[in-house]
Every structure is written in structure tokens, then in C-alpha cells.
Amino acid sequence: MLGAEVTFDVALPKVVWGWLVSTNMWAKSIATGSFLLGLYFIKKYPEKDAFFRKWVPILGLIFIGITLLVTVLDLHHMFRFWKIFLFAHFTSAVTLGAWVVSGFVIVLLISFWSWVTGNKKLFDKVMLPGFVLAFFSTIYTAGIMGESTARELWVFPAEMIQMLLSATLAGSAAYLLLMTIYKVEMEEVKRELGYILIGSAFLSGMMYLGEILFARMHSEFSHRAVEILTFGSLAPMFWLGIFLTFIIPIILVGIANEKKKYEYALLGSISALVGLWLVKHSWLLAPQMLPLS
């Protein structure tokens, strides 16, 4: 007998998690990445720390605010979100994430207060817990993706590394953008941020390439999802995202660092931030395009 086709079925739900979830991941990358990189630069260049002591809390609060807003908006019962604290179920990465992000928000508020009052020691005291909380705030989404057993494209360790690379990419892009706009004269820092951005873009791009090439080895489902992503309905969005996130920034930020023309870094950073959303969104949608039953 030859092929088979479904001749009757009910209409199935398709996209369960849409742009609100992509925006959540994108904004969280900026918030946690800018925090982690901010700590690094404050420690490395204590004499030039004013810029980071100001922008770590501001960027963090704005973008973690966006993350929380879209998270709550995406709930079908948004006024029940508090139940996650009262009836916490700790096998769920969603629960762990809610607790970790809440801790991270407290650290950000303290760092904001430290900047407003000029009390550097206050921020210094929460740097270590802040580092741990920002780190776990970055990766918990990978845990959720790993627990999404139905979507076999998402594999836990790979997603975790992608989340960390997204954070360093988005954090460095956000700082380069601000430094160019506010004409901050810290050439050494800008160069280093540029190299972090290039390195993150390169590694992340390579990981996507690896995941695309080897998806077939994982399962038929992930192989089909990758086909939709690379040749199917999501291909234009995915490839545009890859181009904007990885290729353009590597070229432009590379030129900026080589020729010391940092306006190129501005364009590269914008490209990286726009592209990152597109890549995240298409990667989120791909395994939702296939029937599960």
C-alpha cells in the first residue's frame, strides 16, 4: 500500500506560544546580558564604572519589566499569576523561573537605589547574588523548552548555551548602542564589547548551524521542524534573522573595532537586536507547525 493521508480530523490548535513569548525571551536576554556584562566591566575597570553603575539597573529594570509584562499578558488567567508563588510546583521550570526572576528584580531595585543615592557599597553587596540570579534568569527558559516534551526541536543543554550567548550578544549590543548614542569615550571598553558581540554571534550562529545539520539525528519531528524553518513557511523570517543577528554584526562591529569607527558598531548592534527577535520567534514557532497527534 502506498502513502496515507488524514481524511477527517478536528481543527487543531497551532501556535500556542506566539510573539509574547518571543518578546519575553528577547527582552530577558537584554536584561540579564546587560547585568552580567555590567558586573564584568565594573570589576575590570573600577575607575570607569560610573557608566555601568547607571545603566545596569536602568537597562535591567526596563527590559525585565517588559519580560514580566508580556509574561503576565500571555496568561489566559493573568490575574491568577500570584498562584505561582502560593501553589509553587518546583518540578516546573516555569515556577523556578518566576522565583528566580523575582529575586533578580529585587537585586535590580537595590542596584537602582545604589545608583540614585550614590552608595556604591550597596550594589557591591548584591553583586554575587545578582550574578547567580541573572545567570539562572537567563537559562530557566531553556529549562521550560526542555520540559516541553512535545517540541522535540528544543534540547535542554543546547538551548541553555543559546540563551547564555543571546544574553551576551544582546547585552553587548545594548551597551554599544548606548555608548555610541551618548558618545561615551571608553575606547577599550567599546572594543571589548565589540569582541564579545562578535564572539557571541559567531558561537551562537555555529550552534544554530549544528542544530540544523544534526536535527535529523535527534528525531523525525525535529528534522521536519527544521525543514519548515529552513525551507518552509518560516524560512524568510529565520534566514533574515540569521543574517541580521550573526552576519551583519560580525562584519560591522569587526570594521568598527579595526578602523575605530564606532558608528558602525551602532548599526551592527541594532541589526543584532532586531535579528535576535526574528531568530527567537521563528525557532519558537517551528515545532508548533507540526501535528502532534
Binding site: 500500500m1 502506498l2 502513502g3 496515507a4 493521508e5 488524514v6 481524511t7 477527517f8 480530523d9 478536528v10 481543527a11 487543531l12 490548535p13 497551532k14 501556535v15 500556542v16 506560544w17 499578558l73 500571555d74 496568561l75 489566559h76 488567567h77 493573568m78 491568577r80 499569576f81 498562584k83 505561582i84 501553589f87 509553587a88 510546583h89 518540578t91 516546573s92 521550570a93 516555569v94 515556577t95 518566576a98 521550560i144 520540559e147 516541553s148 516534551t149 512535545a150 517540541r151 528525531s219 523525525e220 519531528f221 521536519r224 507540526l290 501535528p291 502532534l292 497527534s293
Partner: protein, 211 residues
């Protein structure tokens, strides 16, 4: 006690009595299904075969939906049923992302997750699930997997060709199929062509529940 289901696919004639009785029993709203019967046509005329496959929650012993639910709205009952607490659900839809069998939906009226509960409310008072009662060919066999004398245990012992859906995911379904096939049980083994199928051309829903 470990309650389980078994469908003898050679008995199923696709009449959908189970699906309709489930809708009526559980007040399942329009465009949502706890139990559905999928038709798959295989082959080319004159060598053709139609498969009917009733699909419902598997009440997995290692249920990804229970694990991911942040508020334990999805929880195990002592008899092995994976139940839903609608009042606790926050509507995050994580369970829909985790269930590999498409067995959960967000109810557009309550905005909470819902799914087949093996008619837990009927079992509590000693009745069979509505779909079991409605099936005219007794294709649905329901009972205690821990009781060697139950019909389901005997059926499982007697039949060599017992299958579950996606065994490789290690969800340990407590819903079995006898006389099944890969075409019937693997969603990627059949095409879903564009255009009309029997009765409808709507293949996918744009929205899941309301916001």
C-alpha cells in the same frame, strides 16, 4: 489501582459515538475536544484502507504536563488519573507545549486548561467513562491495570500487538491500542494535504482560548 484504557482498533468503525458522548458528558465547548476520532486513508484505489483512531489523554505515568504545570493544576489522583483543577490553572499553556499528544486545550469559556479525565467524576461513583458506555462495538476497554482479573489486563495479556503512542518519549502512557499500526498512531506517518477533507477544510485553529 492504576486505571487504563485500551482501544481495539479492529473493532472501531469510526462512528464517533464516543466523541459525541464525551462532549455531552463533559460540556466540552465548540472547537475543543477531549476525545476525537481521526480518519486516515491509506493506499491507492483499489488497494485502500481507512484507519479510525480514537485519540484522548493517555494519563501518562511519567506525564510531562504534570511536571511542567507551575501550580500543580494538573495532578495525579491515587487511581493514576491525571486530573485538572480548573480553579488553580493560571492559563500559561505550558501543558499544551509539553503534552506530546495534543490532548490538552484551553477552554475558551473558562480560560483554563482542560482534557480527558477518564470521566473521573463518573468513576468516583462507580460508573464507566461516558465513551465506554456509548461505544456500540465495545472497542473501548477500560479498567484497573493492577488487577489481573480485569478485562483490560486480560486483553493486554492475550494480545501481542499492543502499542502506545510515541513510546520513545518515555511518558509511559496508560492508554493502549491493539491491532494498531504506525500509520494509525504516528502523526508524521500520514500527510495532511491542503484543501477539504471530509466535512471541513479548517485544519488549524488560530486562537487557543480567549485572552
Amino acid at each position: 489501582m492504576r486505571l487504563g484504557f485500551l482501544v481495539d482498533l479492529s473493532r472501531c468503525m469510526g462512528c464517533m459515538a464516543c466523541a459525541v458522548s464525551c462532549k455531552a458528558e463533559n460540556d466540552v465547548p465548540l472547537h475543543s475536544w477531549r476525545l476525537r476520532v481521526k480518519y486516515i486513508d491509506q493506499g491507492e484505489f483499489p488497494e485502500v484502507k481507512r484507519h479510525f483512531v480514537p485519540l484522548r489523554c493517555n494519563h501518562c505515568e511519567n506525564a510531562p504536563c504534570e511536571r511542567i504545570c507551575p501550580v500543580s493544576a494538573l495532578h495525579y489522583l491515587p487511581n493514576g488519573i491525571v486530573n485538572v483543577d480548573h480553579n488553580r490553572c493560571i492559563g500559561c499553556a505550558s501543558c499544551m507545549m509539553a503534552c506530546p499528544y495534543n490532548a490538552i486545550y484551553i477552554d475558551p469559556i473558562t480560560n483554563s486548561a482542560d482534557k480527558c479525565t477518564y470521566c473521573a467524576h463518573r468513576i468516583e461513583v462507580g460508573m464507566m467513562p461516558a465513551c465506554v458506555v456509548a461505544c456500540p462495538t465495545h472497542a473501548n476497554i477500560f479498567g484497573d491495570l493492577d488487577d489481573p482479573e480485569s478485562e483490560i489486563s486480560k486483553y493486554l495479556k492475550e494480545h501481542k500487538d499492543v502499542m502506545v503512542r510515541k513510546p520513545e518519549l518515555n511518558t509511559k502512557p496508560k492508554h493502549f491500542y491493539v491491532r494498531g499500526s504506525t500509520v494509525a498512531l504516528d502523526p508524521l506517518a500520514s500527510e495532511r494535504p491542503e484543501g477539504y477533507t471530509l466535512f471541513t477544510e479548517v485544519k488549524f485553529l488560530d486562537h487557543i482560548g480567549g485572552h
